[in-house]
C-alpha cells in the first residue's frame, strides 16, 4: 500500500549518559513527566501530524520498549494498513549485523520502507521532548523542492559549539553543516529530525553502505555527502519547546519545565495531546498531613508527607514526615516516613528507608562538587543512610561513578 509519508524512529539508544537510570531498558522507554515515556512524544507527534505508519528501530534491551509499544493502540497506531512496527536488527541468508549507525539502521530496513513506497520519509529520534507538526515540515520540504529538510532551532550563540550547526542562505537553504564547530557561523542547531525524499535517501544510503570508511551516521556521513553533491537541503525553523533528554541533567530539567507551562512545555493543551499507555491504578490520595506544592502527580500514589517542586510518577508512596524536593520519582518509588529526598532522580521501584537523606540542594554542596543524585531502578536505601549530592547508586545500593 503506497503512503505519501512514513516515519522511522531511531529508538536503539542505550542511553549510556543516563547511566544507572536506564537499568534494563532502552532510553526511549524511560518514564517522563509523571505519566509518559520519552517515546510517547515522537509517536504522538506522528499521530497528530497524520502519519499513520511508523517503524521503530530498536536494538538495545528492547523488551520493555517492545511491550510498552505493544499493538500501538494508545497512539492510534494500530490501523490495519500501516501502524507501528518494531524493527530490530535481523539475520538474512548472508548473515546480518547490529545496526552500525543511524544511517545503517535505516539502510537495513530499506525493504520495510519500500513496502509502503513513500515519497517522503521522516527520520525521528527517540530521546527528544517536544511537540511538532511534522506535516508542516513536510510541506516546507515540498515547497523547497528539497532532497532533505532538517529541522533547526536557534540556540544561544555561547552554546552553539555543542550542536550540529547549519549555515543557511537567504531562502533558508542549508549551505554548510558543521558538527560541534569551534567557531560557529550561525546559531541554527540541528534537532536531529529529518525529512528525506525517499528515492534520494535510498541512493545515498546505498552509497554510504558501500563506503567502508563511513561511520554510517546521518549527521557525520549522509548529510555531508548530500551537501557535497549539491543536493537541495532545506532548513525548517522550529520555535517551540524542544529538549534532548539524553543526559540526567536535561532529563531533570525537562521534568521541571513540565511544572511551568511558561517554559513552553504545556502538556495539558488538548489540541495536541501526548498519548501514553497508562497505568491502571486508583486516583492518588493526599493524606491529611500532606503538603504538595508546585508539583505534579499521576495515578495510584499515596502521599502523606511533603512534596515540593517535584514530579511523581504513578504508584509512588511518600510517607508521613518525609520530604521530597526538586526531584523526579519514577513509578513505584517508596519514600519511607521521615526521609528526605532532594535534587534527585529515583529509578523505578526504589525504596528510600526511614530517615534517610538522599541528595541535597546546590547550596549545600562542598567545594563545587554538587550534582543530581540518581538511583538505579529497584535500589534499596537502608534506614538512616545519607546519600551525598551528586552520588549515583546502582540497584544494589552501591556507589558508582560516572
Amino acid at each position: 500500500m503506497k503512503k505519501e509519508c512514513i516515519a522511522m524512529l531511531l529508538a536503539g539508544g542505550q542511553g549510556s549518559r543516563l547511566y544507572v537510570l536506564t537499568g534494563e531498558m532502552a532510553k526511549p522507554a524511560v518514564p517522563f513527566g509523571g505519566k509518559y515515556r520519552i517515546i510517547d512524544f515522537p509517536l504522538s507527534n506522528c499521530t497528530n501530524s497524520g502519519i499513520d505508519t511508523v517503524g521503530v528501530l530498536t536494538q538495545y534491551r528492547p523488551l520493555e520498549l517492545n511491550s510498552y509499544i505493544g499493538s500501538g493502540q494508545p497512539w492510534d497506531l494500530d490501523g490495519s494498513d500501516g501502524g507501528v512496527h518494531i524493527l530490530p536488527p535481523y539475520q538474512g541468508s548472508k548473515g546480518g549485523t547490529w545496526y552500525k549507525g543511524t544511517a545503517n539502521a535505516i539502510y537495513q530496513n530499506i525493504g520495510f520502507i519500500d513496502l509502503y513506497d513513500p515519497e517522503y520519509v521522516v527520520i525521528l529520534s527517540g530521546d527528544h521532548i517536544y511537540k511538532m507538526d511534522y506535516s508542516d515540515m513536510v510541506a516546507r520540504h515540498k515547497a523547497a523542492n528539497a532532497a532533505c529538510t532538517i529541522s533547526v532551532m536557534e540556540v544561544p550563540w555561547a552554546e552553539a559549539s555543542r550542536f550540529g550547526i547549519m549555515a543557511v542562505n537567504e531562502e533558508d537553504m542549508i549551505t554548510e553543516f558543521a558538527e560541534k564547530p569551534k567557531e560557529p557561523k550561525s546559531n541554527l542547531a540541528s534537532m536531529g529530525i529529518y525529512v528525506f525524499s525517499w528515492q534520494a535517501l535510498r541512493k545515498y544510503l546505498t552509497e554510504d553502505e558501500a563506503d567502508s570508511n563511513s561511520e554510517n551516521d546521518f549527521g557525520k556521513n549522509v548529510i555531508p555527502a548530500m551537501l557535497n553533491n549539491g543536493e537541495r537541503m532545506a532548513a525548517y525553523r522550529f520555535a517551540g519547546y524542544w529538549k534532548d533528554v539524553g543526559t540526567l541533567e536535561s532529563l531533570w530539567d525537562a521534568n521541571m519545565d513540565m511544572l511551568s507551562p511558561e517554559s513552553g512545555l504545556d502538556l495539558s493543551d488538548e489540541s495536541w495531546p501526548i498519548y501514553a499507555r497508562s497505568v491502571n491504578a486508583p486516583p492518588t490520595f493526599l493524606g491529611s498531613g500532606s503538603r504538595v506544592t508546585h508539583s505534579a502527580f499521576n495515578r495510584g500514589s499515596d502521599i502523606e508527607g511533603t512534596v515540593e517542586n517535584s514530579v511523581l510518577s504513578p504508584n509512588v508512596v511518600v510517607g508521613a514526615g518525609a520530604r521530597v524536593s526538586y526531584s523526579v520519582l519514577l513509578p513505584g518509588t517508596v519514600v519511607a516516613p521521615g526521609a528526605v529526598v532532594e535534587y534527585a532522580i529515583l529509578g523505578e521501584e526504589c525504596r528510600i528507608g526511614r530517615d534517610c537523606h538522599v541528595g541535597g540542594a546546590p547550596e549545600s554542596a562542598e567545594g563545587g562538587k554538587w550534582g543530581l543524585t540518581v538511583l538505579a531502578p529497584r535500589c534499596q536505601v537502608a534506614d538512616g543512610r545519607q546519600v551525598a549530592p551528586g552520588t549515583m547508586l546502582d540497584r544494589n545500593g552501591e556507589e558508582v561513578s560516572k
Binding site: K35, S268, N280, P282, P283
Partner: protein, 370 residues
C-alpha cells in the same frame, strides 16, 4: 474456558439519585475519582476469569453504551464471546409500554442470547454495586456446596433503597427473603447470584409462561423451600449506590485507607477507561489534603476531604470542602463549595458560594453554570 458467564443488569433511574441519573442509568454514574459504577461489576467478573459478559440495558443507556465501547478496557473485545450489549426492546409485545419490569422479564426478552451461553454457570450482578468480590472463590464454594442458587450478601442490614434482605439458618441456607422493610433485618443482598445456566433458563421459561417477572419474588421467595438457596457472606466493603445520600456517604468512605486498600486490592484490579490527560498539578499556593485526586487536575486553591475526577480546575482562592467534583469541573477564583456533588462540566463562577450539608449534599446537574 472458564465455567462462568457474567450477566450485568443496568437499570434506569432510581428516583433517589436525582440529577445524577437524569442523563444516565445508575451503572454509568461516575464514582471514586475515575470509575463508572459498572467498572466494578465488570472487573469483578473479569478478575474471576470470565471471558463472556452480557450487559442488559434498560432506559437512558446512551452513556452506558459510550462507556462500554467494544469492552477492550476489560479485555472483553474477543474473537469468541467477549462483551455482549443487550439493549432493551419491547418485552410486553405491545407498543408504548415500559421496558422490562424485572430481571426475569429482561432475560425472557433475550432468551435466544441465553441459548448462546457457552458456560455451565452464570453470575448475575447489578451495575450499581461497588465492591471487589472474590467471585472465583464464590463460584468454587457454589459448586462444593451443591447449592441451586448462591446468594451473595453483605454482612450487615444496612438500609439501601429497594434492598433485598435474607435470613439464613446455621448451614447457610436461606430461610427468608425480605424486601420493602421499614427497618431492615437479616443480611443485605448484594444482588449477586450464581446459578447454573440450565436452571436459569428453566426459571426464565417457567416464569415467563406465568407472566412472572420478579427474580426475588417469583424465584427466590416463591421457591426458597424447593430450591437450595445458599448464602455467601461478604465481609468487605460493598456499596449499592441508590440515593444521593448513599452516593455521597460511600464516596466519602473512600478517603479511609483501609476501605481503599480493600476495594482497590492489587490482586483484583478495578479496570477503567483511561482519560488522555497529563499529570495533576498543584500550584505553589495550592493546598490539597485528605482527598482522592485523579489525573489532569489543576489545583491552585484549597481542597479538603474531597474526591476530584480527571481535569478538575480549582483556581486560586477557591475553597472546596467535603465535595465530589466530576470530570472537567471548574471552580473559579474565590468561590466556595461545601458538601456539593457537581456533575460533569460544571462551572462555578468567581466568588460564588454553594453549601450543602453532610445530610443533604447539593447536586449540581451536568453542564450547569453557577
Amino acid at each position: 474456558m472458564n465455567g462462568l458467564h457474567g450477566i450485568i443488569f443496568s437499570y434506569e433511574k432510581r428516583n433517589d439519585l436525582r440529577e445524577l441519573s437524569e442523563i444516565r442509568s445508575s451503572a454509568s454514574i461516575p464514582f471514586g475519582g475515575r470509575y463508572r459504577m459498572v467498572d466494578f461489576a465488570l472487573s469483578n467478573l473479569v478478575n474471576a476469569g470470565m471471558t463472556d459478559v452480557g450487559v442488559v440495558l434498560h432506559g437512558r443507556y446512551q452513556s452506558m453504551v459510550d462507556h462500554l465501547g467494544t469492552g477492550k478496557v476489560w479485555d472483553l473485545s474477543r474473537k469468541r464471546g467477549g462483551l455482549r450489549i443487550l439493549p432493551p426492546f419491547n418485552y410486553q409485545k405491545d407498543w408504548g409500554t415500559m421496558p422490562f419490569r424485572g430481571k426475569l422479564e429482561a432475560l425472557a426478552g433475550v432468551r435466544t442470547y441465553l441459548d448462546t451461553i457457552r458456560q455451565d454457570y452464570v453470575a448475575l450482578m447489578e451495575g450499581d454495586l461497588v465492591a471487589n468480590l472474590p467471585l472465583a472463590d464464590i463460584y468454587e464454594r457454589h459448586i462444593k456446596s451443591g447449592a441451586d442458587i448462591t446468594v451473595v450478601c453483605g454482612n450487615d442490614s444496612f438500609a439501601t433503597a429497594d434492598g433485598t434482605y435474607f435470613e439464613k439458618n446455621a448451614e447457610g441456607r436461606v430461610t427468608e427473603v425480605l424486601y420493602n422493610l421499614t427497618t431492615p433485618r437479616g443480611y443485605r443482598g448484594l444482588e449477586v447470584y450464581i446459578v447454573s445456566t440450565k436452571l436459569l433458563k428453566e426459571l426464565v421459561d417457567e416464569c415467563h409462561a406465568k407472566d412472572q417477572f420478579s427474580w426475588r419474588r417469583d424465584v427466590l421467595r416463591a421457591k426458597k423451600d424447593t430450591l437450595n438457596l445458599r448464602t455467601y457472606i461478604w465481609e468487605g466493603f460493598a456499596a449499592q449506590v441508590r440515593s444521593v445520600q448513599e452516593y455521597y456517604d460511600r464516596s466519602m468512605q473512600l478517603l479511609d485507607p483501609a476501605i481503599r486498600a480493600e476495594l482497590f486490592t492489587a490482586q483484583r484490579p478495578i479496570r477503567a477507561k483511561g482519560a488522555d490527560k497529563s499529570s495533576t498539578y498543584v500550584g505553589p499556593n495550592g493546598r490539597c489534603v485528605n482527598s482522592l485526586v485523579a489525573e489532569g487536575c489543576r489545583i491552585e486553591g484549597t481542597v479538603e476531604n474531597s474526591v476530584l475526577f480527571p481535569g478538575v480546575v480549582v483556581e486560586a482562592g477557591a475553597v472546596v470542602r467535603n465535595s465530589v467534583l466530576f470530570k472537567e469541573d471548574v471552580v473559579s477564583a474565590n468561590s466556595q463549595l461545601a458538601y456539593v456533588i457537581a456533575d460533569k462540566d460544571v462551572i462555578v463562577q468567581p466568588g460564588r458560594s454553594l453549601m450543602g450539608h453532610g445530610t443533604y449534599p447539593l447536586v449540581i446537574a451536568k453542564g450547569s453554570i453557577v
